[in-house]
Symmetry: C2
Subunit: 349 residues, 2 copies
Amino acid sequence: MRAAILRNKRIEVGDIKEPEPGPGEVLVKTLACGICGSDLHVLHRARHEETGGGGIVMGHEFVGELVDYGPETTKRLKRGTRVTSIPILGRKTGAEFIGYSAINTGGYGEFMRLTEDHLLEVPNGLPTEHAALNEPMSVGWHAVNKTRLQPGDVPLVIGCGPIGLAVIAGLRIKNIHPIVAASRSPKRRELALAMGADIAVDPRERSPYEAWREQAQTGLPDPGPTLPGWLVGSGLKPAVIFECVGGPGIIDEIMAGAPQDARIVIVGLCFDEDRFQPMTGIRKELSIVFSNSFNRAEFAETLRHLGDGKIDAATLVTGKVGVDGVAGAMKELESPQAHAKILIEPWRA
Amino acid sequence: MRAAILRNKRIEVGDIKEPEPGPGEVLVKTLACGICGSDLHVLHRARHEETGGGGIVMGHEFVGELVDYGPETTKRLKRGTRVTSIPILGRKTGAEFIGYSAINTGGYGEFMRLTEDHLLEVPNGLPTEHAALNEPMSVGWHAVNKTRLQPGDVPLVIGCGPIGLAVIAGLRIKNIHPIVAASRSPKRRELALAMGADIAVDPRERSPYEAWREQAQTGLPDPGPTLPGWLVGSGLKPAVIFECVGGPGIIDEIMAGAPQDARIVIVGLCFDEDRFQPMTGIRKELSIVFSNSFNRAEFAETLRHLGDGKIDAATLVTGKVGVDGVAGAMKELESPQAHAKILIEPWRA
């Protein structure tokens, strides 16, 4: 099959062996697969030997068409059904990730094998390209769920890439407003507003924390300087700050900007060691909540949200390419001023 | 008045001017004052110019005898009453800390001025030396309160200095058991058990995380390796880990040892920049909750707990000195194998 293959920190197009479904597994034809920010990270990091020599086929945000069943399957879905799945093969010998392995190839190739038990049918009427957003949208939904928001909480979303936008979509579903968003990209600020943010600021022009503060007024009199913040609180509505940028330094930066008692939810990924000032956390009594991916229920729930039109997915797909276009698309995503999500359609000529 | 004065990273005994109570303030004779771990930190850090040239008189864990009233006071308490207070002067111009300032001298000296509004009467029958533990005990109580523990949560307390012991005391009051504690000091492990810990391990002999795991079994079958931890959880009871050591590196160390979904409550202080691995937090979906001091209600509540005998304070005072003994006591506390809390009684000859 044709695939965009990662070898030696480069994406090359090549022909590789079609995957064979094992016990409890199915074969799908990839219909669409998103390029994830983590894929960019792996692209720059993975050395030849780390990619299994032969290279890896990435892609964990996929929709496929059910083509064939392996042994020991129940065959509950018809061939031809559009399906998605968490990017995990549930094998008797252990869980294996799809898309970052030389063996379990992902949606950057024409075919994939998936675990039958994990298959979710794409709802009727939901376009394939929107269903392909389910994985990143689930990441945002999980972060919002995990935070146990209450009416009166005022969220601030730092970074409006696909994950930040997914968080905003989740906040809108939970009806938590006003939502303050921050991004340097005009395109992404526009998308943030379309997804449900009430205010979107360019952090180079205005401090997101000041914009947040304006929205978080309680109308209570200022407690004044008689007692320190840790004794009397901020006098503002509760702050929940979603870190959706990733990379070193951003957690420390948010801790420095955060108001007293803020909860900081880390949704962005930082693969490197990071530095921070514990005393800032202590003085402000901050909480840092690390959020990772989603659980199976949230993945299914997000697909229903997409199917019911609760997430306005149409605006998020800003580009589509075949396997030949993957290297170029990943380059464009390096300075993502104009893009949210680029999809790969490996069946394209 | 006589005082133990911090000058040039040294404690010297000297005579300084007795403080004068300002508007809304009272003068107290210091009866007892604890030496705090933060005082040790300041001792090694404070340069001559930072200590106001003339030096500072530390001490923010104090009990005093009410000696005199300044102007604009209500005089609601009789002279001679034993009192304590949060270590804050609430002035019209702002809050000022007591004990880390050249002007607002603390309990390392014979007399102090306090804000009348902040005075709490020491309950009848509560020995002065136990009431002097109220400040550190409140720090532990606040950390436990802040964590909103529920029955079934299994706490692990890392570090059994006065703050770790205060956390254990708070957990016992909330009836959250089993409590697993870890300390390298045999004396402190013994105190941890006396304060309410169910198990106290030496981390050089046994991993505190293994000891915790043994107590956190749910009896549920092991979820096995079919799905990763972030999808299925740990299968164990919820972990709440109290960091009561302080200093760089310990947060990262606890993150590495913590089970899936653990909440880590930072009660120890780290004044320096610190390093950590965000991906550890993300993969395990950890939460880090920074806890600082206490609020006024918690400070008062802890004094009631001490008065009602809910905290077994008798075991915690492991030494008493006059101002002449402060330098030696601080040196002993550097390797605190044998000590929990040393009190200063500045009136001692």
